[in-house]
Amino acid sequence: MTTATQPTTSQEVALWLRMYRQMVAIREFEGQVNELYTRALMPGLAHLYIGEEAIAVGVCEALERTDYITSTHRGHGHCLAKGASPDQMFAELLGKKAGYCKGKGGSMHIADPATGNLGANAIVCGSAGIATGAAFSANRLGNGRVAVCFFGEGALGQGVLYEEMNLAQLFKLPVIYVCENNLYTEYTHYSECTAGDVLMRAQAFGLEAVSVDGQDVRAVHQTAQRLVDRARSGGGPSFLLCNTYRYHGHHVGDINREYYRSKQEEHMWKTERDPILNMGKWLIEQKHADAPALGRVQQELESEMKKAVEFAVAAPYPNASEVEEDVYA
């Protein structure tokens, strides 16, 4: 287990405050998504990232804007942490033309070349090849970029993950496989479908594999930064296991969860292991912020997200003529 370091520089303090703010941004964004669903304003479903914010933020803060990420069906946090703007994201979630994908992708497929986001993917482990291929390009073109492949522990069940880790190690590619173990593979506890030791699976291919407290944004960031630097300097692929928890259901409609997990368990994670609460407490303890300042961060972001939602609700749908556009480049 990695432990967070003590504060030393003003740059570090700025980083911690930025990471706090980013985590709150994701939580406020997702709160609005849930609201859109319950008010029946959003077509389809969405998979909320609430509870897991420290991972996307800690990892993406270790990346350059030109570095690549691939994301998952639970991908809003990754997209925001990599720099996506909330108004275009909400527009995409509502199927509007102003969305990142002109409304053609939706919640599970947000992609944004400007921030290196190769796309969220609704096939579990569907982007392991894409992330590995992006690292292959970076290696061949010599542009110094790295790729991060985010996936949930459910992806550990897909054989292609192991094919990609094998290829990445054979070709010494700058890719980091970030496994977010939120304990539930949809509605089934991960222990019921994951044999053996997760880290050893990656170690078998020669990858450096480490686990980190996924609720501690400083710990995630510190470890991710080391693995990113290692990849960028030619050290090859690695595997980062982040232990976390999904506060909401598999998707927004999964509200009766007692058949697969207890309310006490949810309560414990929300009150004792919350990444935002704990980071806020720590910032106050270390006198890097006070409670009113953190409160203002929350209010600012809540207001920003509400405005972004208003933009998206008012934005027009695509024209019928667009249905056949973009099938071929």
């Binding site: 690549y68 691939t70 969305g99 990142y100 994908c101 002109k102 409304g103 053609k104 992708g105 497929h109 992609a111 944004d112 070349p113 190769l118 796309g119 993917n121 096939i123 569907g126 982007s127 392991a128 090849g129 894409i130 992330a131 590995t132 291929g133 992006a134 690292a135 292959f136 390009s137 970076a138 061949r140 073109l141 790729a147 054989g159 292609v160 094919e163 990609e164 094998n166 290829l167 054979l170 070709f171 556009e325 973009d326 099938v327 071929y328 480049a329």
Partner: protein
């Protein structure tokens, strides 16, 4: 992109395999982002020796032997194509495309559309098709219809060395994922191929033989079968036109319809399974586009609806031959 044959180019007799290797080598010289990956593509040059010599010219960084992980290296190619490379993946036997389905169908084919046109996937998958090589049920299928079914993919079936070179160069330069099916029984077939650069646009059919009485619309190795049948038909006074769509998608519907409007009869020949296959789609195009010009029902001839058997006398029954096409055409012409 017009069809171009540069003036003054020398024309040689090359095999189908040599034409493919020449196309790859020329594109790799022209564009440093083109690379080849697959099982036994480097030193071995594939089991069919199609790629022999490329490793020596381009080195291991651009001709990459992979593990036996079709999904793995195809997925890697999708990501590489999105980020600045033009990979050509080699799937040794067309039967193994089943292992690449998620990477091609859910990833490569959809990335451009799902991203609202922001990302593109300029990659080529080369693979094989074709029965009668005594390779049994898992090394003999022609599964191109599977990929034809997916919007976002282009599917190419060359039938001559000339077409193979020009179409493969066009496929590599295309901004979309293109699947290129080579009939492994044609690798040693010879034909005229110009030296140097030329491309054949995807989506343009070719009339391989002009005729008046019946259209034989044929793909890949079935073009040769159709030409053989046409020669037999000529001896009994039936003039057959042989039309090769060359690409399944994009599809040159007009060329097929125009030919059948002229001849009033059509047989569709394809080595894929007849049921729910390419022949059904092409027959539908003709039925819709040339209905009032037809003097007989459109006849489809594809592979029998059985796993390809090993035993030679059984295997030979499963695909159309010159003789079966000749007989079907004669019957359709009322002779």
């Amino acid at each position: 992109m017009p069809e171009t044959v540069m003036g003054g180019q020398k024309v040689r007799e090359l095999t189908f395999a040599q034409a493919i290797k020449e196309a790859l080598a020329e594109e790799m010289r022209r564009d440093s982002t083109v690379c080849i990956m697959g099982e036994d593509v480097a030193e071995a040059g594939t089991p069919f020796k199609v790629l022999s010599g490329l490793l020596e010219e381009f080195g291991k960084d651009r001709v990459l032997d992979t593990p036996i992980s079709e999904a793995g290296f195809t997925g890697l190619a999708v990501g590489a194509a999105m980020t600045g490379m033009r990979p050509v993946v080699d799937i040794m036997f067309g039967d193994f495309i089943t292992l690449t389905m998620d990477q091609m169908v859910n990833q490569a084919a959809k990335v451009h559309y799902m991203s609202g046109g922001k990302w593109k996937v300029p990659m080529v998958m080369r693979t094989t098709m074709g029965a009668t090589r005594r390779s049994a049920a898992q090394h003999s299928q022609s599964l191109h219809a599977w990929y034809c079914h997916v919007p976002g993919l282009k599917v190419v079936l060359p039938s001559t060395p000339y077409d193979a070179k020009g179409l493969l160069k066009a496929a590599i330069r295309d901004e979309n994922p293109v699947v290129f099916f080579e009939d492994k029984m044609m690798y040693k077939m010879k034909g005229s191929v110009p030296e140097g650069d030329y491309t054949i646009p995807l989506g343009v059919a070719d009339i391989k033989r002009v005729g008046e009485d019946i259209s034989l619309i044929a793909t890949s190795s079935m073009v040769q079968v159709a030409l053989g049948a046409a020669a037999m038909l000529e001896e009994i006074g039936i003039s057959a036109e042989v039309v090769d769509p060359r690409t399944m998608w994009p599809l040159d519907e007009k060329a097929l319809i125009d030919s059948v409007k002229k001849t009033s009869r059509a047989i569709i020949l394809d080595e894929g399974y007849e049921r729910y296959g390419v022949t059904a789609e092409l027959a539908s195009v003709i039925a819709t586009g040339a209905f009032y010009d037809l003097d007989a029902p459109v006849k489809r001839m594809g592979a029998m609806h059985v796993p390809i058997p090993f035993s030679p006398p059984l295997e030979d029954l499963t695909v159309p031959t010159e003789q079966t096409v000749f007989e079907a055409a004669r019957k359709l012409c009322g002779r």
